[in-house]
Symmetry: C2
């Protein structure tokens, strides 16, 4: 399940510390160390999947769990009603740097368009 060289697997296991805001059996969420908005949280599945391209039938259930966590965290952060953006990058042209699925949750300010 875990990749021994993966930063986010190490955060999931607790081997590397992070400012956690939510976790359950399937998902961990923690604050981005380079935040781009007053709330900027990364939500990851505990299971190691590198990119959206690597999702396969029967494995994509992780994504639901990330969005359910996003809605919970948005309420906790007090940004659910005003609004928030969720973003996931796949590969270099999108700027993906850690190859373990992670959903960015950003809010607490007006977001602009286009999304980067």
């Amino acid at each position: 399940m875990a990749d021994a060289d993966c930063l986010f697997c190490k955060i999931s296991s607790g081997e590397i510390a992070a400012d956690r805001v939510f976790e359950n059996d399937s998902v961990v969420a923690f604050r981005d160390i380079n935040p781009q908005a007053p709330t900027h949280v990364l939500i990851i599945p505990r299971r190691h999947v590198a990119t959206i391209n690597d999702l396969t039938d029967g494995e994509s259930g992780d994504i639901n769990l990330l969005f359910e966590a996003a809605a919970i965290i948005a309420r906790t952060e007090g940004i659910a009603e005003d609004g928030y953006r969720v973003t996931m990058n796949c590969n270099a042209a999108a700027g993906q740097t850690v190859f373990h699925l992670h959903l960015h949750l950003l809010g607490g300010r007006q977001m602009t368009w286009p999304p980067g």
Copy 2:
């Protein structure tokens, strides 16, 4: 299931035309009429759900289907390996204007950071 006043429900049913690139029993995808990248596709569930905040246990399965469609469309568009970004807006601070879940898929250029 459908909301009679919803633009995206009308696109799903075919009542309003769109430049469709993918569809199955659960999902419809079509090109954004105001594209922000060489590929800019909106992927929606046929079932009417207004925002991420309205997802409930047992209903969030739609999100998996949107991401599975994103991976398929990215391959069809030839952007899967270079990369692409997926984004969903919730409520006004994120710029959500149509209150029917839609995942933006953008690619074909280098995306920047922050994501808006």
